[in-house]
């Protein structure tokens, strides 16, 4: 380690300057603006926060983010785990994992178009060009459904698109952790008469708990910030609004900078504890390595 007067500051200077301008200053300003009115002219106290928790639009957004939180997180993590464990037993493991991981490479906008096409709707009697309605009405003989418009299906339809994107991510991380479990441990349990089911629940899951926690918190952060998929596929219409999309609308369409700032602050407050836990665990893992 060297002590060197000015030199270190030349190295860290640019980073500190840019971070101050692009993250620190705007974050503090947004916090400040959240206590002001639409055009940031008059102090309005907690009005924007009261609106955030009482308006119909925001209540829908909170409800949907909660729905995402439960379904998306449960589906991505559990599917990722099951696929990681099963794929370990076959010879085509690596191509299989590539197929599941592939959606991580493309943009959420692109994925949005892919799934919008799967959900495409034509009135009954017309040829269905969307895969889901073709199966639904062609094979099952049901009335075609506008999956992204129908209020009882649209949130689920969006969540499925999200699951398609992120399951591969969960699978790859969990697969690495699974391969880290000593094989003797699993064999010993099998020799002692445990069946595969018991091995999975009594040994694999408890051993992988730290990694499962990291993957789960990462998915929770994704859910809190989910934006692109909703913006492209429904733009939050028909009861599919989410917090981040609402923030965008308040900022760009309604030009209500007070409310948009308040939503951003809520988002920050929701993310900080999850993210802090994630970074701490990441640090611990780095330390072990």
């Amino acid at each position: 380690m060297r002590k060197g007067g000015l030199m270190p500051w030349l190295y860290v200077g640019p980073t500190l300057l840019i971070l101050a301008a692009y993250l620190v200053y705007p974050t503090l300003t947004t916090l400040y603006l959240s206590f002001f009115d639409k055009r940031s002219e008059n102090f309005t106290g907690l009005d924007n926060y009261v609106w955030t928790f009482t308006s119909k639009a925001m209540r829908t957004a909170f409800r949907n983010n909660l729905l995402w939180l439960v379904l998306f997180t449960a589906l991505t993590v559990s599917l990722g785990l099951v696929l990681a464990v099963l794929a370990d037993r076959v010879r085509y493991e690596s191509p299989f994992k590539s197929v599941i991981f592939l959606p991580m490479a493309i943009s959420f906008v692109g994925a949005g178009v892919i799934w919008k096409f799967v959900y495409a709707y034509r009135p009954a009697g017309k040829p269905q060009i969307g895969l889901l309605n073709a199966l639904w009405s062609g094979w099952l003989g049901q009335e075609p459904i506008g999956w992204l418009v129908n209020r009882s299906t649209n949130n689920l339809a969006l969540i499925i698109a999200g699951v398609w994107i992120w399951t591969g991510f969960c699978m790859v991380i969990l697969s690495a952790a699974y391969k880290g479990i000593p094989k003797e441990l699993l064999e010993a349990a099998r020799v002692d008469g445990a069946n595969e089911w018991q091995v999975f629940w009594k040994i694999i899951i408890p051993t992988m708990k730290p990694t499962l926690a990291v993957v789960t918190t990462t998915m929770i952060i994704n859910v809190l910030k989910v934006f692109d998929i909703v913006y492209v596929m429904t733009n939050g219409d028909y009861g599919t609004e989410v917090i981040a999309n609402r923030m965008y609308k308040e900022m760009f369409h309604f030009r209500h900078f007070g409310r948009a700032s308040a939503i951003a602050v809520i988002l920050l407050l929701a993310i900080v504890p999850v993210m802090a836990a994630n970074i701490r665990r990441f640090q611990e893992q780095e330390a072990i390595r």
């Binding site: 380690m1 060297r2 060197g4 270190p8 030349l10 190295y11 860290v12 640019p14 980073t15 840019i18 971070l19 301008a21 692009y22 993250l23 705007p26 974050t27 300003t29 947004t30 099963l86 037993r89 076959v90 299989f96 197929v99 991981f101 959606p103 991580m104 490479a105 493309i106 943009s107 959420f108 906008v109 692109g110 949005g112 178009v113 892919i114 096409f117 799967v118 495409a120 269905q128 060009i129 895969l131 073709a134 398609w164 991510f169 790859v172 991380i173 952060i221 809190l224 910030k225 934006f227 913006y231 981040a244 948009a260 939503i263 988002l267 993310i271 993210m275 802090a276 970074i279 990441f282």
Partner: protein, 286 residues
């Protein structure tokens, strides 16, 4: 029954599940790709799966959709813009972060620990917290709708993660290496360029791929700082506006979507190892 056969039979359900899931995962993308090379009327009148029974009849395919979407609909311009945005937005933050990470790892200066903790702490800030003040500043400075503006924005957003990752990597290099280099009379500068950087090529590659894809696939940052300026819009922005303007013209939308995915797919297949490592390391990015 031979043990081998019974093993194969007992694995049968596993194969069913895995192959089924694999097909389920591939089908939506295959549908997109096939539709993008079918003539407009065919796409509108029949499902893409109807080509499967006579899959190798090339007369049912056409590249006209790509011609139209690249030319008249301006996807070629958007592709160029994506490159012009993404390449500097990958190089600038990594270059700046490498210097800072090196200082945090191997130099001594007052406030070193505290400053590093603050930099890492900034990982938790969601983009949304910064949009309004920055956009206002950009409007005043004339930076909105410019490439320079979005390069700087991506640099700001990418720095905390890049510094964090590189500082961890530099920090894990053996201390003796630097001590002996200094003893041999190497300057700080030489140690950085001749030792730290060459030894960190894998970490730099993973980071570069992560940042490249993050910027290439980004919608929100482009949406805010480039707004409605068609001349500078990248692929994601262009594609999302086509979703609204083209509506049910699926033959064009599918072609446009595929163009936006082409480069990431090439990166994925050619650099899969670095790609996966980059994505995994990037899981803590805010």
């Amino acid at each position: 029954m031979s043990p081998r056969l019974s093993k194969t039979l007992s694995r049968f359900p596993i194969h069913i599940v895995l192959i089924g899931m694999g097909l389920l995962w591939l089908t939506p993308s295959v549908g997109l790709l096939i539709s993008s090379i079918r003539p407009p009327d065919a796409v509108n009148q029949t499902g893409w799966w109807t080509v499967l029974p006579r899959f190798f009849e090339t007369s049912q395919y056409t590249l006209r959709n790509y011609q139209e979407i690249l030319g008249a609909q301006g996807m070629a311009l958007a592709f160029r813009n994506s490159l012009l945005i993404t390449i500097p937005s990958t190089i600038i933050p990594i270059a700046i972060a490498a210097f800072a990470a090196y200082a945090f790892a191997w130099m001594e200066f007052p406030g070193r620990q505290v400053l590093f903790v603050i930099v890492v702490g900034l990982l938790v800030v969601p983009l949304q917290m910064t949009l309004i003040p920055l956009l206002r500043a950009y409007n005043r400075l004339g930076l909105s709708g410019t490439f320079v503006g979005i390069w700087l924005a991506h640099t700001g957003y990418g720095l905390p993660f890049a510094v964090y990752l590189l500082r961890n990597f530099f920090g894990s290099l053996p201390r003796d290496l630097f001590e002996s280099a200094y003893l041999d009379g190497a300057s700080e500068f030489t140690a950085f360029f001749r030792l730290a950087l060459p030894l960190s090529v894998p970490a730099l590659a993973s980071l570069a791929i992560f940042q490249f894809l993050w910027v290439w696939n980004d919608l929100l940052v482009a949406l805010i700082y480039l707004g409605g300026t068609e001349q500078v819009a990248p692929l994601t922005l262009k594609l999302s506006s086509l979703v609204n303007s083209l509506g049910q013209n699926w033959h064009l939308l599918t072609a446009a979507a595929f163009i936006s995915m082409a480069l990431p797919l090439v990166v994925f297949f050619s650099l899969q190892r670095y790609f996966v490592r980059g994505i995994l390391a990037g899981s803590v990015k805010g």
